[in-house]
Symmetry: C2
């Protein structure tokens, strides 16, 4: 996510941001994932929690199941009923929601209605103020501290030769 001056020649949809947005980059999708993460598993509860029109919600839920972000699990035999649960891929979207929540608390909400707290006992009673930390060195890893480079796959997509000095994997 570097702020560098020279754009990459990467084809527009090759980036993983575009790939993610293709699956979940829509208001209802991310609100659905919020509802399920917060314990609303039934269609009617997800509909009420998101405010999504029922036909669009049905389409979104089916798409998220097909994409492997949600899975259906039965909760009643008669009548037969299933609820929606996060898969491992769905749980991995929680940092995206947390980033949106933190941004909205800072830049959108006059008075944030929810406060996230860190679960460990004795943790101070204030909102979490999280940041991206590099697992390798433990330092913050966002904004201008981050650079990006094409992988071999990215170089191939961009029509660039594979043997330049950025390419360490051939």
């Amino acid at each position: 996510m570097a702020v560098t001056a020279v754009p990459f020649p990467l084809p527009r949809d090759a980036c993983s941001i575009a790939g993610s947005l293709e699956l979940v980059g829509e208001r209802w999708s991310l609100l659905v994932i919020r509802e399920v993460a917060w314990g609303n598993h039934r269609f009617s509860d997800i509909a009420r929690g998101t405010g999504a029109p029922r036909d669009r919600l049905t389409a979104r839920l089916n798409a998220l199941v097909t994409a492997g972000v949600l899975e259906k699990r039965p909760y009643s035999d008669s009548p037969p009923r299933s609820g929606y649960h996060l898969t491992a891929a769905g749980r991995d979207l929680l940092p995206v929601l947390q980033a949106l929540l933190q941004w909205g608390d800072k830049w959108v909400a006059a008075e944030p209605p929810l406060r996230l707290k860190h679960a460990p006992a004795g943790h101070p009673e204030h909102a979490i103020d999280a940041e991206w930390i590099c697992r390798t060195c433990g330092e913050p890893a966002t904004g201008s501290r981050v650079t990006r480079e094409l992988t071999p796959a990215g170089r191939a997509l961009s029509g660039l030769p594979a043997d330049e000095d950025h390419d360490h994997e051939h």
Copy 2:
């Protein structure tokens, strides 16, 4: 972003996630922010980089300027031309994009075309594997490690009395 069993009675649009998605929860908006973050400031470059239809891109850019996420800065007097740059609020969206990129690298892309690297010299040549860390205690702060509670503002929105034990700020 806790996975707790009991949903909150919060009105559906009061949450800051909904507020954020109202502003930037749309495929083109987040791709526009990606392009500007990566150094594409001119309309034509943003159009090429996102693939957005020009009329929708114009509407999105205007909305993002009105929302305070982007700002226009002149780069030519004759003809008069302006480019788009991230404001402080826009730069604060980079963790959202980084979360989407990391998710897409893991769950969408067969071979990620881009690799993010931590800028400090001597840092290993592999992709950043960042996680949300609580600034207070330095521990991971996502998923089940996070709980949520209503703030006084949230209790008022939900029609709940303000004097329950969760409410420490009155």
